[in-house]
């Protein structure tokens, strides 16, 4: 079953196109990552899904309903900024938003407790939001997004600005939400995060979806099964040798990278570069960052 479906959605600000015939589908229960550089159209896409902006063309359906004020009840959004009321307690923040979603009555207290427990804040229910750590505030923001039991959860940069420990906690929380059956659309600049969490990934560039699929499917987009990173004072020699071997080369920061069409043992690689002084050499599997850079460069 498809939870979210965009079909040839376009949007322009004045004469500047921001989304161009964007089509994508997110299946129920999956985590879909929307990636792209700044200005690619991610935030515009989210604004359209949340009915804060109207698309110029195309159709958007959430749980088979066209986007409208009513579909706001199907969506939970945790924005990039932690938008909570600092002088309210965790419980009061949740209750306030629950009321806005029309939740009240006897079932409300248990719903508040369930949400707080889901994000691990049960013991901080009566703490003022301003006294929480950054990671806890982000979790409270997530609890607010979950208060009305949405079918689709939109997470905009869910771990940006969090320390490593809080980031791991948030990742585990997102996985747990998926196990609970919630469909998740997330945007992130952290490719590591997308790689760890997402079932499928869409790469957005200048308002167009230039690649989409699972990590395994995306790996097929570049002619490499392994990346070798080398540091050497004789780069020209190393590149010449790689060219002889039909290994494409790229530069990632200070590292010179060769794309190997098939994995090799380290001793085989060293033999191939025999006679060239190597300061360091490292083998890496093909990762999302390699795919992303290549697709964005050529796409």
């Amino acid at each position: 079953m498809t939870m979210l479906h965009l079909d040839r959605v376009s949007k322009a600000y004045g004469k500047r196109p921001v989304l161009q015939d964007l089509s994508l589908s997110v299946a129920a229960g999956e985590i879909y990552g929307l990636l792209g550089p700044n200005g690619a159209g991610k935030t515009t896409t989210l604004n359209i899904l949340c009915n804060l902006l109207k698309a110029d063309r195309g159709t958007i359906r959430i749980n088979d309903q066209p986007v409208s004020e009513r579909t706001k009840l199907l969506i939970g959004v945790a924005p990039q900024e932690t938008l909570i009321y600092r002088y309210l307690t965790c419980q009061e923040n949740l209750q306030f938003f629950a009321n806005l979603y029309g939740l009240r009555g006897r079932s409300l207290p248990s719903r508040l407790q369930t949400c707080l427990a889901a994000v691990g804040l049960s013991d901080r229910a009566t703490s003022l939001a301003e006294t929480l750590s950054g990671g806890m505030q982000r979790r409270l923001s997530l609890a607010i997004a979950l208060i009305h039991q949405p079918k689709l959860l939109i997470l905009d940069e869910p771990t940006t600005g969090l320390d490593l420990e809080a980031r791991f906690e948030m990742w585990e929380l997102i996985r747990q939400l998926q196990r609970d059956g919630i469909t998740i659309l997330l945007t992130t600049h952290l490719l590591d995060e997308a790689e760890r969490l997402c079932d499928r990934i869409g790469l957005l560039k200048q308002g167009q979806l230039i690649a989409a699929g699972s990590l395994a499917e995306l790996r097929q987009l570049i002619p490499a099964q392994e990346i070798v990173l080398v540091q050497t004072t004789q780069e020209e020699q190393a590149i010449a040798r790689a060219t002889e071997l039909n290994y494409p080369h790229h530069r990632y920061g200070n590292d010179l990278a060769f794309w190997l069409p098939a994995p090799l043992e380290l001793k085989e690689i060293l033999a191939q570069f025999d006679g060239i002084p190597l300061d360091s050499i490292a083998r890496q599997p093909v990762r999302l960052e390699h795919i992303y850079l290549e697709v964005m460069r050529s796409g």
Binding site: L46, E81, I84, Y85, N99
Partner: protein, 263 residues
Amino acid sequence: MKYWTETIAIARRILTELLRRKRSLIFWAIFPIAVLILNGLIFAERSKTALPEPLTLGQALQRAAPATLVGAALFFSCLGGSVATVVSEREQHTLKRLFLSPLSGVSYFLGIGLAHSAIAVGQTLLVGLTAYGLGARFQGSIGLAAIVILLSILSYVGVGFILGTQLARRTEDVNTLVAAFGVPLLILGGAFVPAFIFPKVLLDLAQYNPIFHMNEALTKIVDEGNGLAEIGAHFWFLVVFAIAMIAAGWLSYRRMLQVERRL
């Protein structure tokens, strides 16, 4: 029901946040009481030379209470408070989160109005009971006085929305706005200096100042026991002004929504 629930939720949130900041709450109470007592003492002292029979402190407070209420108390709580609420929501970006929910614009507008009306009722009781406790004895129709106070609240909240949505973008702007627009209007409205000592040119100018009409209407009701017939000019000015400000506040708010409705 949806609008009611949402309006109550917005009002309750604003009041809960205010109650949480106890120090601010205490200052909000100290300010009108201090102005009331100072105005009362000045009136009592001036009456010794200006009137054939000097006013007692109770009579002076009875005269000072209306100006203190609409000038010092309601102005800062309803106008300043509405501006601060809107600006703080914009500054902290919590407004964006509200747009993500099904909250209607009407409920948000009404919720802010309701919260500040509740604060205003509290301040009215505070000023009224303090003056009463010190000997003031109010006259006139309580209902008519309540309507004038309500019109004052609506006017202030409407102006608060206009300033908060159109002119102030940061919390610091609130003080400069209130100082630039508010304090001259308060003085010209007779909140701190009684209007009867104004030079003619200022008195003519004051006829266009809503605070002057709030002040005059309420003073004539509670101090002199006048009815609608005697305060008609002030009353109808206030009715028109309150309606105009609520309408303009609503339009300003709608305009802000168009700009701010983005993640």
